[in-house]
Symmetry: D2
């Protein structure tokens, strides 16, 4: 049976909000996200760069930290109020979930924890605000990314991850399952009223597959690709432009200088009414991944960013990527 | 002082959801909304046509009813559950607000009421669902409107309207006020996490100024205008294409065969975090209405749809539209 | 009767190629064309700035010259070879048309002349070439104008101007005429295989109404308008965005700091085959000017750039702009 | 040495104009080109369907003929006048080139011939005209193709093909050659003032690789792909969307029900001035084919439409497609 949303969750999550990555060449990564992607640099220190989308009033949605290894450090969510941080702390304590209060610059009360499949998460209830830049049209660069929207995490146990997060109030908008069963291969879950804030897909995990920013329209995607080409990052597009079946987004995926992956996409549909059922896609249906065109590269299927100190576990379900070779006529 | 949001509202409103209009030639109006705007006809009866946007799973977001006069009948909002309808009923009873439970086809429990400035409202907690059409790309017509997003109501007392609705849990994202004071000329209020579900602007009211559907991008707006021209409705564009200062939308306004007004616009920015303050625009700042280009026509400024049986009241504040004549060089 | 193209012209004109303007604040004008329009600065001297569109290999298509008055200096056309310059010289000598060979930096053999309605023209057969910038997507600014396309000149005698230029080999693609007659109000003439290189419209002249650059698509037009708004030039859009009936272009018109007018537009249709007849628009048909939306401002109708030393002559035909007041509800 | 354009050609070619294909299911092919691509059906007979782009005034640019085999029948060019047909006839006679005058419905004098590499060509000097549909915006479908623009032919001898066509007055705008030599792998040749009317690339030939229609903008390309997906032709996109290095076009390639290939693309740059040199791309430079993203499928590289009765010849140069496997991580 499909997991059910807990409509009286222990604390109130409101949206996907910020991600932190360790990068091996801080200046190269800053240049990539500013000049090839088009994010705004809010602040730089010796060891970190804080960036945001053009419409964001929150201080940062992407934090690059200087590191010796390229890792996904934290996947961040917002909760509604400071009281929700305290409620989360209580809940994790009673549930026996590892967690820790931390001080993070520019953020309000912040709580870090590890979810049951090993994803390194962070909750905060507020951030310092800065002016939205969405009307500084003369400063738009590349895809003109507007805001952080969601994350995709590769996990060895989609069912366990989904049970946990729906228990915290997330709703499932779409999912893939083995034909004829409810064996979950991927789940798209949301709290902010559109298709997803957090996605889990089956694979060797835990790893962060990508984080995603919205762009204004399809031409912004194409311009982002053109700019990537012009700046020497044309080969770092590892999927797209294309149209997902699931969520209906037009998408483009790029790899940063450390091979962290960012998705640019046009915004998805509204998912608010309680009578809306999650949309099911059989895992045998290739249109779930893409409505038309060439499938993703193998890089897209098999590469993702690890979290520090986490051992990777082979997936419970055996994945088979789309028949790329058939498409390409390689046999 | 600005009104404050009631964060423990008596019942939970979730979004702008459906509007009903009486129209004098039902077939002509259906053809307009289907062929010139691009809405999907879900259902037709002898006396009504039910339409929706391409991505909408709810049965209808626009109801056209055959009538002898062209009127705005009802402005509809969704509440979360059936229990919220009952809670609303109790609240209105205790607050002395006129209200009535009604049966509406394809809708769950439905409650009608009149807000303090005379707007005819309707709440419902659910609707029959139908398949989303957002991937039926071969059926896209004109602007390819995706979903109903918000309403703008002209009122003689913006302060009273705003007090009422923020008391029901709406948050203000932006507002216009007399320079140097908090005297309100217009308020943009939301419940669904972006800039507005319900807008009140100062003028002879109550009248429905427009209801608005999102379109995928700016080219869809231009294509809608081109299609309107090709279908003989080119003169019924009474504003735009242009860019609002408030809310940042690219917009196009059209008048239907009864002169009801529909806005097509590209979607606005996210407004979820509680630390985000409402954005203030001095009424003297012309950029609040438009960042560039020609101002609205006088038709846009002075014409709107009346509610049946409501007497119009002159506004408390004396409005002066932008200096159109100066722009046009007419003096 | 309509004038006829001379298919054995005395010399071969190939395209609209470059325009020179005198401007009163050279730095302000350069900043405008580079940062608000998006042209590329090829070269600057103390007294002149040379600019071009992103795809242009020719050294310049716009020359700004420091001056005490704002004037349209020269409207430039290309001829095929140096021999065509010599042939032109001979032709003008035998036809009694004022002309002069001049040295112009970065240009091959160059011949200036005054056409019968007083337009200051310049022919050249070659220019120094520079790399095309059309794939430097990371340097695209504002509307990303690709190339100079055409000119519109206001003249007191459209018939005389048209006779002259069709005698030099231009073909008419579209025209406006008094209903029921061939009395010409405006003529769109081309040599390069699309709808126009040179347009004459009836009015007090000679004056240069505008010069036009192509942009890649409609979103580039909207982005140009947004950038103009962001840079403080939002009020300098004196028409559009809109769709012309004649030529079918999506257009946007902006005024530079000296009130010279530039059009940005999406490219028009092919006009090559000899069996294609010119398309006629009755002057009473408002769709010739615009297929939908608000008409042009009076600034657009009545203001244009004068040529140095030319006396203005009242038009032979009495023009009436579209019924703007009716549209705006001003009476 | 590169071949040189003959600037005094024996007759005047003006543009790529019409292509005819034999198809095995006429109704299925008509539906594809009308509903998935968006061409306009001008006329249907029992055995043929005549289609055109939305802006075309010429009766047809694509002719589908009912056949038992799927073949490329004729690649059509326009010449300026009837006299050019006679001049062509004389020229081919004196040059010993197979040719034949034929009667073709809706066309003026028509001459068929076989070029030295076996391409089946057809010249005509005029066509019956029909109204341009470019302002019937309400009839736009899918990519809204505006006009036929060019052809690409696979040949075993690019040098011979190029010598022949430049001898007939075509100019080369771009070419690929073995690094450090002038050994030609592909040549882009034009007569109408932009980058190409006729392209030859090295491979087993003669075969028609594709014919290409312009679309208004990049979003039209994406919408065409979306419509193809919705209509069940998503797998028939065998390349793109992407950006060519050569010619700078944004492109999308689709296969019709008989596997003939059509390209939709945004229009390329102007190429008129005689001082513009052809742009060279080393065959080792992968950016010539694509500025970013995934390379073409093997289907795109190796499949093309044969001409009736022509034996295929292996190419003189040994082609190696881009390192697809490396990109895909297949080794």
């Amino acid at each position: 049976m499909l997991p059910m949303t807990n409509f009286s969750p222990p604390f109130a999550i409101t949206r996907a909000s910020h991600v932190s990555l360790s990068v091996t060449d801080l200046e190269a990564s800053r240049d990539f996200y500013r000049d090839v992607i088009g994010l705004v640099v809010t602040e730089e220190t010796d060891d970190a760069v804080y960036l945001r989308g053009l419409e964001e009033a929150a201080h940062h949605s992407l934090v690059l930290e200087r590191g010796t290894d390229a890792k996904a450090l934290r996947v961040g969510l917002r909760v509604r109020t400071d009281a929700d941080i305290i409620a989360a702390e209580r809940h994790f304590a009673s549930a026996g979930i590892e967690h820790e209060r931390v001080e993070k610059p520019f953020q309000g009360p912040t709580l870090q924890f590890r979810d049951p499949v090993g994803t390194h998460m962070e909750l905060t209830s507020s951030m310092q605000t800065v002016p939205r830049k969405m009307q500084a049209f003369d400063e738009f660069v590349a895809g003109a990314p507007q805001r952080l929207d969601h994350y995709q995490v590769v996990t060895y146990d989609v069912q366990a991850a989904t049970d946990f997060w729906m228990g915290l109030g997330m709703r499932m908008s779409e999912y893939t399952a083995t034909d004829g069963t409810d064996e979950l291969w991927g789940t798209w879950m949301e709290v902010k009223g559109n298709t997803h804030d957090l996605v889990f897909t089956n694979g060797r995990g835990p790893r962060l597959h990508h984080f995603a920013y919205t762009v204004p329209d399809g031409l912004s995607l194409l311009h982002a690709a053109d700019v990537a080409g012009a700046k020497g990052f044309g080969d770092e597009i590892d999927r797209g432009p294309g149209r997902h079946g699931i969520s209906n987004a037009l998408f483009l995926y790029l790899r940063d200088p450390d091979q962290h992956r960012i998705e640019l996409f046009t915004t998805h549909y509204q998912f608010i009414d309680l009578e809306d059922e999650p949309l099911r896609w059989d895992v045998s249906n290739p249109k779930r991944a893409q409505l038309w065109g060439m499938p993703a590269s193998n890089r897209w299927f098999f590469e993702a960013s690890e979290f520090p100190g986490e051992t990777l576990t082979e997936p419970l379900l055996q994945a088979t990527p789309p028949t790329l070779e058939a498409y390409l006529g390689l046999h």
